[in-house]
Amino acid sequence: MSKNWSERGAGTPPAPDPADEDSVIGQVEIFISNILRFGVLISAAVIALGLVLLVVTHHSGYGQDLTGSVQEIIAFRGGAAGLFPTSLKEVWTGVMAFRPYSIIALGLLLLILTPVIRVATSVLAFLYERDYLYVGITLFVLLVLIFGFVMGKTGE
């Protein structure tokens, strides 16, 4: 008995069938799950790489020497003031120059992207199930998310 992906969370299935992976719909859930896992692993690897570089070289890549006290390193400066990247462009140029802070920032950005990717794949999944009500709902959420990113880019 195969159940629609969109109905997996609804209705009254008679018996538990945790090994439903054979059905195509079970595949969709596993697909989403794997994308998430993959995205998380990649972002973790990049963050870890940046952190290792930082600890080993004692440099942030932005002129800060990290051998001293932590108080200096984490002292608050409004708007970062060139101490770490705050825009996509800065992250990219920093990564190209192997700056540890930029590599960490890249990993963090990838992490921030994972929920967005998840919403986007849900749109596709609902589309596949022809659940147009939820295609609309999910698209709305996706658009709000994209609006949030765009606003962040141009706003401040």
């Binding site: 930082l54 970062a80 920032a105 949030g148």
Partner: protein
């Protein structure tokens, strides 16, 4: 304080935060922010930036397992996220225009009240006598999951979406304004108003908080509130913790979840109250 000390303490407290966060559908910021600000002397702006990261890390770190285990009700999550993400954008806009003090006090009271409600339900394993209202029927929110601790399939009904929706909007505003995931309010809304089984509430909240936080994370990044030196060990610790938390979650009973939830609720209420009166 040396660099290795800071990184180690941050990492390990984030692991704990990730475990608790994944279990309860919260963002882990509840543990991370106090540790960073009170223990390690981090400025509140950077702590909030790290909190936003920790919310997303908890969500995505645990999500893979919960989706696969089919406990998350994606429909409920998406529907409510319409309200939360809109709220988050509003909140990010409003930051600077509204004094957070009053919000802290109001929500401290709400949390206190919820702690009471949660305490009254502490022996309830699964909800009973729930009747689907026409609104929730239209959106097909009823569901089912297999509870490993109870060793049986649990069918459940949903109700009260009309009331939960505005609550989620407010939770979203809080999120954008204060840099939190608002997981607490999501779980409470689903548990008390929509009367979902506890595990469904926490797993669905876990899914939702990541989406909500992502809505305003870009803004925090651009503002320079996400400091790589601080956010990196937090992110890594939380990811590990959340992963461990999902494994625990499968075998834990809903009543146990409630028991863990209660002290967290009370501590949060206290934290908010203190912030509200300006401590």
């Amino acid at each position: 304080m040396s660099v290795p000390f800071f990184l180690t303490v941050t990492f390990f407290s984030s692991v704990v935060a990730g475990i608790v966060g994944a279990l309860l559908g919260l963002g882990g910021g509840i543990i991370v922010v106090p540790v960073l600000t009170l223990l390690l002397g981090v400025n509140i702006h950077y702590a909030i930036g790290a909190s936003i990261v920790s919310v997303i890390a908890t969500s995505s770190g645990a999500a893979a397992a919960y989706v696969r285990d089919r406990i998350t009700n994606i429909r409920i999550g998406m529907l409510l996220e319409m309200a939360t993400t809109t709220g988050a954008i509003s909140g990010a806009f409003l930051a600077g225009l509204i004094s957070p003090r009053w919000l802290y006090i109001i929500f401290a009271l709400m949390l206190g009240y919820s702690a009471l409600a949660m305490f009254q339900k502490r022996h309830q394993e699964l909800p009973t006598g729930v009747v689907t209202d026409p609104f929730t029927a239209k959106f097909r929110l009823d569901g089912s999951y297999y509870d490993l601790a109870l060793q049986k399939q649990v069918d459940y009904k949903t109700t009260g979406v009309a009331l939960a929706f505005p609550m989620m909007y407010v939770a979203g505003v809080l999120s954008g304004l204060l840099g939190i995931g608002s997981g607490l309010f999501k779980v409470l809304g689903m548990d008390i108003i929509m009367r979902l089984p506890m595990k469904v509430s926490t797993a669905t909240s876990n899914f939702m908080i990541g989406v909500t936080a992502a809505a305003s994370a870009g803004l925090y990044f651009m503002r320079g509130d996400i400091h790589p030196f601080i956010a990196a060990p937090v992110a890594l610790g939380i990811l590990l913790g959340a992963h461990l938390g999902t494994r625990v979650m499968a075998h834990i009973k809903s009543t146990t979840l409630r028991l863990i939830f209660l002290p967290v609720l009370l501590i949060s209420a206290l934290q908010m109250l203190l912030k509200g009166i300006g401590w």
